[in-house]
């Protein structure tokens, strides 16, 4: 168990280092000097000053070393587009908003997805099963921005149930969280349903019935637990899905989250913001996946014994 966590931790660190290095060199391989992007020629002295401020006058390898050094101190450096702003400040402004939105979306997705999948499996081949599967198919077929536009058009503009955009009250969270959660709901519901159907035909369910347990006990204690275990392994990917999905959703709903700053960073070619955001999100994600793996090894007793992930 401990050796599993340790091994997993080391691989997390390596992945992190890789993404940081990759991001750094990619950004520095990007064509042109960031200051010339503006289109206006800067006086040589100003350019030299700026280069010195951003350490751009030093050899690349030194810059890389300095970047890593600052990273360890959780300093992601200043923004290029606006030198009085730092990436840390941008994250401090944007992330709480994105976190709130993402958390609501992921919780909503997990609860709804599992509920839908379980009900569909228990009522296999009945109306509710078909309804759930139609929702699931729509969820993986319709891009989130299309869904978001539909939600805005009907729930916000026509029926005026929720505000169209921006951020502030809890009502502002509903529509973007819904749009963001839809495709994860579909994925979770499908997986849960398939697993549940399989588990319900397992022989240990028959054993549980032979003990005289009630149907509710059988479903919740014996079947559900084993059916949703694989969903846990999916959590990492789902969090990534919601995270990147929020770039689009935040743009549509004009939410002042990380996505907004990231997209602005892309449009302004603000390399330090792009780099900082990527590093920040990657760290977050990779750490989440690490947590999920450790969590899985705790809730599935079979893993402790073998000390490694099961195949397939």
């Amino acid at each position: 168990m401990l050796s599993f966590i340790l091994r997993r931790f080391v691989s997390m660190i390596v992945t992190l280092w890789l993404i940081i290095t990759l991001t750094f060199f990619l950004m520095h391989a990007a064509p042109g000097n960031p200051f010339e992007k503006e289109g206006k020629g800067l006086p040589d002295a100003v350019a030299a000053n700026l280069n010195a401020f951003y350490n751009l006058d030093k050899p690349l390898i030194v810059q890389y070393g300095l970047y890593l050094q600052n990273l360890v101190k959780f300093d992601l450096g200043p923004s290029i587009a606006n030198s009085s702003d730092s990436v840390n400040k941008i994250i401090a402004r944007g992330f709480p908003v994105s976190f709130q939105l993402g958390l609501v979306a992921i919780l909503f997705a997990i609860v709804t997805g599992i509920a839908l999948g379980v009900v569909a499996a228990l009522r296999h081949n009945r109306l509710i099963d078909y309804v759930a599967m139609v929702i699931a198919v729509i969820g993986i077929s319709v891009p989130s921005f299309v869904l978001a536009s539909l939600l805005i058009k009907y729930l916000a503009v026509e029926w005026k149930l929720f505000p169209t955009a921006t951020w502030g009250t809890w009502q502002h969270v509903v529509l973007p969280a819904l749009a963001l959660a839809f495709s994860p709901i579909a994925i979770i519901a499908r997986l849960t349903r398939t697993n549940m159907l399989e588990v319900l035909t397992a022989e240990y369910i028959e054993t549980a019935r032979a003990k005289g347990l009630s149907p509710a006990t059988i479903v919740f204690k014996h079947a559900l637990r084993n059916a949703i275990l694989p969903v846990v392994t999916l959590l990492g990917a789902l969090i990534a899905n919601i995270l990147t999905g929020s770039f689009v959703i935040e743009k549509i709903f004009a939410i002042p989250g990380m996505g907004k700053y990231f997209v602005a960073g892309i449009n302004n070619r603000d390399y330090s913001v792009i780099m900082g955001t990527t590093v920040f999100y990657s760290t977050l994600l990779i750490f989440m996946m690490f947590v999920v793996d450790v969590l899985y090894s705790i809730i599935d007793p079979r893993i402790k014994f073998h000390g490694k992930e099961r195949e397939g």
Binding site: S141, F247, I286
Partner: protein
């Protein structure tokens, strides 16, 4: 019960073997095709894909309009006999642009899936077949890459390489092959240790023969399913990138960029500018996904539900 005495004679042993019903011999492919044919949903998906493909080629040709020609007089026209899907804010014909976009979106999806396929099969196949230490090193590398948030990497690559058709495909393939490699490697590894491959080996079969006769036929199903499902995910990713302003540049358009341009029409009421590209993206996703699911069931009847 009264039973007549005549019946107490030894039974004639005729037509007793008649109960053996001879099942027609089918090849793997015939059987898979039969199962796929029985799956109406998957067939519908296949038909939709064919129609979309045909329209992507024929659409811009049968339309009297040019996809890039602007006209301020005819801007934002609703669908009519003249402009079947209406016009956009530059007066360009949406019908022509949708099918032009289909070419780009489908091309991106197919190319990315194809490149994933080649790299993934090669990498996964080599790792799985050689096994041992080589496999260990190759897979450790893949595991690390697998931990990267793939859309972020794609975005990064797009920022560096600049937007465009080729860069999108390159960026998508740079991360897309990993899943394929893992799947293929797992399959090959499992099969390599199976009894029937061991049996073939004990009979002195050469490696190439084993690959051709055992590994390939048994992995091809899963590979086809994987490719089918990676087409829509590439199209999805392209739409996503276009949406962030990293996609195809004007005047060319993919469904993603068109949907992005059409987004403000939720409020302005020019619904057709968002509806058509969004509708065709959704149809494509749907078609490829149900076909992929159908193929999975067809190639592996065990998973069927």
């Amino acid at each position: 019960m009264i039973v007549s005495d005549e019946l107490f004679t030894p039974m004639r042993k005729d037509n007793l073997s008649a109960e053996a019903i001879v099942r027609p011999q089918l090849t793997y492919w015939q059987e898979a095709w039969l199962r796929l044919r029985g799956n109406k949903l998957a067939l519908a998906g296949l038909v939709i894909i064919i129609i979309l493909g045909v329209m992507a080629i024929a659409g811009p040709i049968i339309s009297p309009h040019d996809y890039a020609k602007q006209s301020m007089i005819t801007k934002n026209q609703p669908p009519s006999a003249e402009n079947w899907f209406g016009t956009d804010d530059f007066g360009r014909d949406v019908f022509t642009r949708v099918w032009h976009g289909a070419r780009i979106s489908l091309f991106v999806g197919l190319m990315a899936a194809l490149i994933d396929f080649f790299i993934g099969v090669l990498y996964g196949g080599i790792a799985g077949y050689l096994g041992g230490r080589v496999d260990n090193i190759m897979m450790r590398f893949v595991d690390i890459l697998y931990g990267l948030p793939y859309l972020l990497v794609v975005i990064l690559l797009m920022v560096v390489m600049g937007s465009g058709l080729v860069t999108i495909i390159v960026a998508l393939s740079a991360t897309g092959w990993i899943g394929m490699a893992r799947t293929v490697r797992g399959q090959v590894l499992q099969m390599k240790n199976s009894e029937y491959v061991l049996a073939a080996k004990t009979m002195g079969a050469k490696p190439f023969y084993i690959v051709r006769k055992h590994l390939l036929p048994n992995t091809i199903g899963i590979i086809i399913v994987y490719v089918t499902l990676s087409v829509p995910s590439a199209i999805f990713a392209e739409a996503f990138l276009s949406f962030l302003g990293l996609g195809i540049q004007a005047p060319m358009a993919s469904w993603g960029t068109m949907a992005n341009d059409g987004l403000p029409t939720i409020l302005s009421g020019h619904w057709w500018r968002l509806f058509f590209p969004a509708f065709f993206i959704s149809m494509t996703m749907l078609a490829f996904n149900v076909l992929g699911d159908g193929l999975r069931d067809a190639f592996d009847p065990k998973t069927r539900r």
